[in-house]
Symmetry: C2
Amino acid sequence: MGSRRQTIEFKNGVYILEAASTAGVKEGEGPLRSEFDAVLTDDRCGEDSWELAQSRMQEDTVRLVLDKANERCENIGCIFSGDLLNQCAGTHYAMRNLDIPFLGLYGACSTMSESLIMAAAYISGGFMEKAIATTSSHFCSAERQFRYPLEYGGQRTPSAQWTVTGCGAMLLSRHQGGAARVTGAAIGKAIDFGVTDVNNMGAAMAPAAADTLTALFSETHTRPEDYDLILTGDLGVVGSDIFTELMMEEGYDIGELHMDCGKMIYDIEAQDVHAGGSGCGCSASVLCGKIYNDLKNKLYDKIIFMATGALMSITELNQGESIPSVAHAVIMERN
Amino acid sequence: MGSRRQTIEFKNGVYILEAASTAGVKEGEGPLRSEFDAVLTDDRCGEDSWELAQSRMQEDTVRLVLDKANERCENIGCIFSGDLLNQCAGTHYAMRNLDIPFLGLYGACSTMSESLIMAAAYISGGFMEKAIATTSSHFCSAERQFRYPLEYGGQRTPSAQWTVTGCGAMLLSRHQGGAARVTGAAIGKAIDFGVTDVNNMGAAMAPAAADTLTALFSETHTRPEDYDLILTGDLGVVGSDIFTELMMEEGYDIGELHMDCGKMIYDIEAQDVHAGGSGCGCSASVLCGKIYNDLKNKLYDKIIFMATGALMSITELNQGESIPSVAHAVIMERN
């Protein structure tokens, strides 16, 4: 065994001063409607393309979290962000309108936890006072990039997940305030268990989630019952079952404590979303909406938020390759 | 003015223990041939596709830097990496074979400096002892993704740059050693000056480079003559001219001190590469090859390495949008 640990501790306080969330039309019709700060009335956001609509939503959500915290761009040390579009276009075309230093990330659907780890590390490390973690996804821009043109109306398999139109942003600070603080994290490895089915992302991501969470428990000498919530995003129905089973094999029963953003954001039966939600914006909007509200309302003392990402490339899949995945975990504690 | 600064200082020593570089066949025929650790004899690297060839090159280069430092995967806290391929496929299909925690980045051709800033921040912040910064690009995988199928044989405009087949990796540590240390950085903003010409990346990136370098000089109260080298990558011939002119307008004459990786890696006339090299692997292989060698040979005391990235999306360009760009600067000092 080497000296390396996957878990890191943020010894200097990193406070989540404020959070903001935006949901699309369909997501606003789901069970979490009242938890979002904003629900789109038009998924085009008044823009000429789905890609620009996503950028508009992301820029607006960042401005919203700044407004809610009565903060301005020129006080923010860095914004950490990325998304699912090729060359992270959703993010970049939002960033050019914001006067904030920017470090771009690619973690697919794990981006919300990756961006939180980055922001927390730069603040706790003493490199800046405030930072923003954010990501977004849009059903229409993702669908045509990863699957079929919208007009094609392709049938979906039962294991397929529905890309969420949504965005979340958190403002982190070294100055005390807000509902919760980031106290630790576990950085995931790229894990590939050989899944090649683009319509079964949950199965591809579950082993990465189990790998990271097992490392976190083991290295911090904690167990599931030390946390009030283990929130994954976005394993969906299929991936969640595999994940809890894999954790059981490792000796950890997380059944009661586990929730998954992909299962929470829709009424899965009524809204016909098969295995649930996915996309960077799924866990981002659920975390920055419902979960941050719950932390404000003192429902939890200590939670693990672990967004999971399928690092798949359409080009490589077409060449017969399988899907590497990654999961990063963030420990949050109520102030 | 807000309280925010773009520059950060790495007060705790961050040492570049070792560097490794790989160059493609064409790059190995250029003026830097003897500076690379490895030169490919076949750009396919024995793989079935150009994408897998890029991943093979990146994995091999990471293993090489570990070997050179007599170090093992299981002692590395994190690898920070990304590349130009959609969903950073070049990186991800290398990472799945390495037993190292992984945080994915997207900074287009700025990735080498972004990954160095990340690795330095996590080490200086006390979160890990050792980390790897790496990125790669491959002419054949990039060309068919961003421009035309290779077989098409498209004509290139004089301002077009040639994507380098190459890779660089640096092993950073909190433990003293190696030829140089990372002592500071400046995080860039996404800057969009309205350039829409996909064949003139240099012009799109030059304003971002000028913006970041001006912030660095201003915030650190230094001037060009305080450094022995200002190395940009990959502005190329066209972008370099615009960049030095923009810096002159800001009151900084960098003429004598400035070199650009895109101009250095090829014999531009003889190798018919128009405005020079580009791609994440250009600045990565030049920095980890020639420049690290020069630092070992005590040619420089203090340098600025600033990789520049055009954050362009083919989808958005086809919709008529312009190209946002970013440049991140890293300050390195000889041990």
